[in-house]
């Protein structure tokens, strides 16, 4: 199934001059760079939504969405902006699903998307700084701002009676922003942070960081990193050296590959992840698994929702015009309207075609606030028997 998906992308890109019934949507993610191992699944999730839409044949009288992938590199603003330029002015995409990392997302939004009036829906840019973006209503994100996650984490720890933690974060705007947000919230409820130390992704040796972290004396370690990157390395090094065995994980650390890699030693770890236990989330997970996407992969659900929202906005606007998409995106995502779940995209398209209204709930319970951000519900998770189990939803 995964091969089929990739093949359809390949075919899409080889199509050359697109047929008149085709609408191009940019999928701008960091295919090279610090999260290059996460992005293929994110792109595949968005394309899953597109495929579902195409298969229904109901979009704007039978038009098909073609995904055009471009590399944001996650760290090189110049390259990301150039790639976005190409998408917007050369491929003439109707909208952009992306970018992935907060830094380049801001650059692309400021330099390309907003000036050209192209909607951007980011599945994973969570830096609180992006809330202040002057975007004229063209920037949306399906993942909540980390300002909220910090609060949720602090509440979770407080409810479990954990009073002191050591914190490590990945040294970028995501990690730093989340760490700052968490520190403030945790201190506000009377908690103590014994040490805050950054770690760089892409290194293989974290013994020094772990040594410093453990020397501060706390029993708990909060890891705000990436599960395929430094975050995993930190946990591994902590367990190996006996420094910590109780971990607190943020959204970037939640996923099957972590539990598989660490195994039973991870039991007892607590975490937060945007999303709920909603029907939508679970039904997306099974769809994704069938499509060959790693179950529980970070931001795959958000990517699917972003793709679906773009398609619905087009249908509601009755055209693939960029400004029209922007005008309808909020409407299709928010109440009132018929609630639409993952896998029900055809149903949603039909309702819109007949002039009705939908409230896309999707895999992440999408509901935008005034500035195009989701407030987000967070799942409180605990690792039991080598798997992440949801305890509560905040």
């Amino acid at each position: 199934m995964k091969k089929l998906l990739l093949a359809s992308t390949v075919l899409a890109m080889t199509a050359g001059p697109a047929l008149a019934e085709d609408i191009k949507v940019g999928v701008l993610l960091g295919y090279t760079g610090p999260i290059e191992s996460l992005t293929p699944d994110m792109a595949a999730s968005a394309e899953l939504a597109f495929k579902e839409v195409n298969a229904s044949g109901l979009l704007l009288g039978g038009k098909k969405i073609i995904s055009v992938r471009a590399d944001s590199t996650c760290v090189d603003s110049a390259a990301a902006t150039t790639a976005a330029e190409k998408l917007v002015t050369s491929d003439k995409v109707a909208a952009i699903m992306g970018a992935d990392c907060s830094g380049v997302t801001g650059a692309v939004a400021n330099n390309v998307a907003v000036p050209n009036g192209v909607v951007m829906v980011s599945p994973s840019a969570t830096s609180p700084g992006l809330s202040a973006l002057k975007d004229k209503g063209y920037f949306f994100r399906t993942s909540p701002s980390d300002a909220r996650q910090g609060e949720v984490l602090a509440t979770v720890l407080q409810s479990r009676g954990i009073k002191e933690v050591a914190v490590t974060y990945t040294n970028n705007d995501y990690g730093k922003g989340l760490s700052d947000s968490f520190s403030n919230s945790f201190k506000a409820v009377g908690g103590k942070i014994s040490i805050t130390a950054a770690h760089e992704d892409g290194k293989a040796d974290y013994s020094a960081e772990v040594g410093a972290l453990s020397a501060a004396g706390s029993k708990h370690l909060a890891v705000f990193g990436y599960l395929d990157q430094g975050g995993k390395g930190i946990i591994q090094a902590s367990l190996d050296s006996g420094a910590f065995d109780k971990f607190i994980l943020a959204d970037g650390m939640i996923g099957e590959s972590l539990t598989k890699a660490i195994g039973k030693d991870l039991d007892g770890a607590i975490g937060t992840l945007p999303g709920g236990e909603s029907k939508g989330a679970t039904s997306f997970q099974s769809m994704a698994e069938k499509a060959g996407i790693k179950k529980g992969g970070p931001f795959t659900a958000e990517s699917y929702d972003a793709g679906a929202l773009i398609a619905f906005a087009m249908q509601a606007a009755g055209s693939a015009d960029r400004a029209a998409i922007q005008s309808k995106l909020m409407m299709v995502a928010n109440a009132p309207g018929e609630k639409i779940m993952p896998g029900e995209l055809a149903k949603g398209l039909k309702i819109l075609k007949d002039g009705g209204d939908i409230d896309y709930v999707g895999a992440t319970s999408v509901e935008f606030n005034k500035i195009g951000e989701v407030l987000g519900t967070y799942k409180e998770l605990e690792v039991k028997g080598g798997e992440f189990m949801t305890i509560k939803v905040h």
Binding site: E36, A197, A212, A215, S241
Partner: protein
């Protein structure tokens, strides 16, 4: 009182000494390759770590193949079995690179800067090639036992509060590094080829006059370096994991280690490796807990007692490098005169 002292010692061993020795061995092996090329071929090989990545990639691919065939090596990683084959492949690639790229500049007696720029080109090539063949993702290929002794078991055995953990790969790294260094020194000092290499490195013209075949010396150097690269890269990849991006980042610490120890001198590379590794680890370690064990409670430190935050860990090797360049540019063991 005695238990406190023991605890402090074990704490230091666990977080500073063992990681320092393991990391130092990895750096030493890498720096050895760099220093050999510098000594004989007289240029700083910027393509070193990406060639290492290539060698490790070969090991990984062969290991996977072996694993799929059901071959294993008991408690030790299967990669060790794959190593000889990967070394042969890497030697081949390195010799081809020399033949097509560097030999031309040798014949023209180009300046070292030209060689370095050429090696930058080779670096790009290897970088792209490795990612192209195996992809940029993290690859795990380690199997067999993980620990010689785990922290938990240690605590149980000794009853102390602090545990000491030693991984199999760490043990392997140290043992193999020692073996390699001994072998290398035996080779350099006892065999004809080794002596020819040293002669060629000390004074090229005189060596040629004595009838030493320069191309043979070069070939032997590359063969040894390729073997070192592959083994070092594989050990590193077994201990951590294989990711092409990581290897590129190791280039500067390798250079720092080679220069600090005295570039062009194999002993220097080894010393430099350990100096850099221990500096990185000990300067950024927070001694709060350690001191707490040792001193009376009233004197126990409030702050972390950390000289430099771990943010700057990466920069420590370069700071040391710069300091060495200022005070003693030839390195700890008098390396090549600059």
């Amino acid at each position: 009182m005695a238990t406190d002292f023991l605890n402090a010692l074990i704490l230091l061993a666990n977080f500073v000494i063992v990681p320092g020795v393991a990391y130092g061995s990895q750096l030493a092996l890498g720096a050895l390759g760099i220093t050999l090329v510098y000594a004989v071929l007289r240029f700083a090989n910027f393509a070193h770590s990406d060639t290492m990545a290539f060698g490790t990639m070969s090991t990984v691919l062969i290991t996977w193949w072996f694993q799929s065939l059901g071959i294993s090596f008991g408690p030790l990683p299967t990669a060790l079995l794959a190593l000889p084959f990967a070394i042969i492949i890497t030697i081949g690639v390195v010799l081809i690179t020399d033949r097509t790229v560097y030999r031309f500049y040798r014949s023209k007696r180009s300046s070292p800067a030209i060689f370095v720029i050429a090696s930058i080109g080779v670096m790009f090539l290897m970088n792209g090639l490795v990612r192209f063949i195996i992809g940029p993702d993290d690859q795990r290929f380690v199997d067999g036992e993980r620990f010689i002794i785990t922290a938990r078991n240690f605590k149980k055995m000794t009853g102390l509060d602090e545990g000491l953990a030693i991984k199999v790969t760490q043990g392997l790294t140290i043992v193999i590094a020692v073996i390699l260094v001994i072998a290398l020194f035996w080779f350099l000092n006892r065999t004809r080829s080794g002596k020819a290499m040293r002669a060629y490195s000390d004074n090229e013209d005189l060596a040629l006059l004595s009838g030493i075949d320069p191309e043979r010396v070069v070939m032997v150097t590359w063969i040894i370096t390729a073997a070192l690269m592959t083994i070092a890269g594989t050990l590193y990849g077994l201990d951590k994991s294989f990711k092409p991006f990581t290897y590129f980042n190791l280039l500067l610490p390798f250079f720092a280690a080679a220069i600090v120890g005295g570039i062009g001198q194999p002993v220097g590379a080894i010393i430099g490796g350990y100096v850099i590794a221990f500096s990185e680890v000990s300067i950024t370690y927070a001694y709060k807990k350690f001191l707490k064990y040792l001193v009376a409670d009233d004197w126990a430190p409030e702050g972390l007692v950390q000289l430099l935050s771990t943010d700057y860990k990466f920069a420590v090797s370069f700071i040391i490098l710069v300091v060495v360049l200022l005070i003693r540019p030839t390195g700890i063991i008098r390396g090549k005169v600059v």
